[in-house]
């Protein structure tokens, strides 16, 4: 065993492991191995990405056909592309679950604060990586999703218009031009997104991943109930700790094999979609973003600025500020911080579910301000819409919980549960209940032919 410990500490690649890990770290119901799954998925993305890049041409004339070549001519290309796509979707899903897990076990306290914030930035990079990859096939879906996305960036104009300063200080237009290099999505946008997708964002994510791993070691391994801020990890009794080699490595191998199997099965069963070539003259109806952005697309359909910029920004600010709001270190490493927390999660989810569904129901059944009154000014709708109302209600609910329990932890849990539930409901509405012209359709009803 000593020999193995020496090899771990001497070998550059094995050194990522600590010689020993605690029991809590290995417990499958504590981490669900989500971080490991993410790093393996990232590895898969890099390998398949290299292969795809070899056969792809980032030009408006060639991009679509080169993706077609990948699917129909390159041997096995279809499956490489499928794996790349499903791994990308998997990353989005699992990075969210990983965040939820880290939050609900309050693994962001004390010195872990920095790692939580790094994690939030990694979440943003993963989302942008997906978004930038979305344009590259240059099909109808890609073209219109990115047109919408770039105009969301430009929607800061709605605010500067109200202030009457758009002519001197066009922040929205500035963002849009930086992002797509022009007024409309074209060659400049494709070049930019290609660069972002294959160099800038993966490199950023790689650096952040290294930092993230290094911080875990610096913070004394994963959080667990046994390890408190006051006791260093060395003080924990030896009998609760296992050798990383072989115990942890077997688990890693098992997860790697599991992920590979799932991805290969997905790639064999489900093809990544490729619509007709991008056509700037005609929009798809409905023009839907990838599923993980449909929540944002749903609230963007109430107001571009609040839905696309303000509320996502508020959510990110909230995520980053969590360790500064909640400084209680009592329940670190315990799911839901015990039974009170569990109750608050249940009630918050219920509360959020009821009010969000109610607001969505009102919009769908009765419309919103513009249908009710004549000449409603735009900025009123920008400020008063289901998305802002639900955000306000989530915050007041959290303030209420904070008053009742006198605990910042419980307030944070309440707000987080409400926000995540709201996000899921808006996303589900966007995925299953919106059809042509963004009108309401029951999930499995047939859309009229447009």
């Amino acid at each position: 065993m000593d020999n193995r410990i020496q090899r771990i500490s001497r070998n550059f690649f094995l050194h990522i492991h600590s010689p020993k890990v605690s029991q809590g770290t290995l417990s499958p119901t504590y981490t669900f191995g989500l971080g490991l799954i993410l790093s393996f998925l990232f590895l898969v993305m890099i390998i398949t990405g290299f292969i795809l890049m070899m056969n792809y041409t980032p030009s408006v004339e060639r991009a679509y056909n080169s993706v077609k070549d990948i699917v129909f001519i390159v041997p096995g290309g279809r499956y490489i592309r499928n794996i790349h796509r499903w791994a990308a979707h998997g990353m989005v899903l699992i990075v969210f679950l990983h965040m939820v897990r880290t939050f609900l076990t309050s693994s962001y306290q004390g010195k872990r604060k920095i790692n939580w914030i790094i994690g939030v930035f990694m979440l943003i990079v993963v989302l942008f990586m997906n978004f930038s990859g979305y344009l590259l096939p240059w099909d109808q879906l890609a073209y219109w999703a990115v047109t919408i996305g770039s105009n969301i960036a430009a929607s800061a104009r709605e605010l500067t218009d109200i202030l009457g300063i758009t002519n001197f200080l066009d922040i929205g237009g500035f963002f849009k031009k930086i992002l797509i290099g022009g007024e409309n999505v074209g060659q400049a946008a494709l070049t930019r997104f290609f660069m972002l997708h294959v160099i800038f964002l993966p490199l950023t994510l790689l650096i952040l991943t290294g930092w993230h791993f290094w911080r875990i070691r610096k913070d004394g391994g994963l959080s667990s109930p046994q390890v408190h801020e006051s006791t260093s990890h060395l003080a924990v009794k030896n009998d609760q700790r296992f050798y990383s080699w072989p115990v942890l490595m077997w688990i890693e191998l098992a997860i790697l094999l599991f992920i590979t199997t799932v991805l290969i099965l997905m790639a064999l069963l489900f093809d990544a979609p490729l619509r007709e070539q991008a056509n700037p003259a005609f929009a798809e109806n409905p023009a839907k973003s990838p599923w993980y952005f449909l929540g944002i697309q749903e609230i963007v359909s109430y107001s571009a600025f609040t839905g696309g910029l303000l509320i996502p920004l508020l959510f990110i600010v909230f995520l980053i500020s969590i360790p500064y709001i909640d400084k209680e270190t009592k329940y670190t490493g315990i799911w839901f911080s015990g039974n009170t927390g569990k109750k608050i999660v249940v009630f918050s989810v219920l509360f959020s579910f009821i009010i969000t569904v109610f607001l969505v129901f009102i919009v769908i059944r009765f419309g919103w301000l513009k249908e009710w009154f004549d000449n409603v000014p735009g900025f009123i709708v920008m400020l008063v819409n289901p998305a802002t109302l639900s955000t306000l209600l989530y915050i007041s609910w959290s303030v209420l919980i904070s008053r009742k329990t006198k605990s910042a932890r419980m307030a944070a849990i309440a707000l987080f549960s409400c926000a995540i539930t709201g996000l899921i409901i808006y996303t589900a509405t966007g995925i299953w209940f919106r059809g042509p012209n963004w009108e309401f359709y029951w999930s499995f009803s047939h859309w009229p032919v447009m």
Binding site: W144, T147, I148, S150, N151, I152, S155, E158, D161, F174, K177, I178, G181, G182, E183, A188, P280, A281, F282, A283, E284, N285, P286, A287, Q297, V300, S301, Y302, S303, A304, G307, G367, W368, K370, E371, G378, F379, V381, M382, P436, N437, W438, E439, M450
Partner: protein, 153 residues
């Protein structure tokens, strides 16, 4: 206050602070000039486009011109040009029975281009039309006009 600072600072600390300030200003300027590399110089946006003879557009209908994303409306009194790009997030709007509707997020506009419902906060712009020397209709995408504006024929 100022005297206090001056008394406290030695020559060395003063020079250190000065160099930090100067270096930050220089760094900021370099950053700005670096940023300018990423902003395109767009010159192709001021466009006047010939659309053909007035008679080539069908009567009492909105004709879609895909290349420039505009609708041309013709009736007995003349021609009008309206943008076919939704003011919400830039999708191409579609003509429906009463006005226009956007497929992306469902904003509706009246035939005058006014927002009726949905998330769009601005009305659809109308563009100036004129006739060139050959008698062809030209749309000027740089000049926005009222919805009452009409090119008489």
């Amino acid at each position: 206050m100022v005297e206090k600072i001056i008394k406290k600072s030695t020559r060395r600390s003063f020079l250190r602070q000065l160099s930090i300030i100067l270096a930050s200003i220089a760094g900021f300027l370099i950053f700005i000039s670096f940023l300018r590399q990423f902003i395109p110089r767009i010159s192709g946006t001021d466009r006047k486009i010939r659309l053909g003879k007035a008679g080539s557009f069908p009567l009492n209908t909105f004709t879609y011109i895909p290349e420039y994303r505009i609708f041309i409306y013709r009736d007995n009194s003349g021609l009008k040009a309206i943008s076919a790009v939704c003011t919400h997030l830039g999708c191409k709007i579609e003509k429906i029975e009463k006005g226009f509707q956007c497929p992306c997020h469902g904003s509706c506009f009246s035939e005058k281009g006014k927002v009726i419902s949905g998330a769009a906060s601005k009305d659809l712009p109308w563009y100036r039309l004129f006739k060139d020397a050959d008698g062809e209709v030209v749309v000027d995408l740089t000049k926005k006009v009222d919805s009452d504006y009409i090119l008489e024929i």
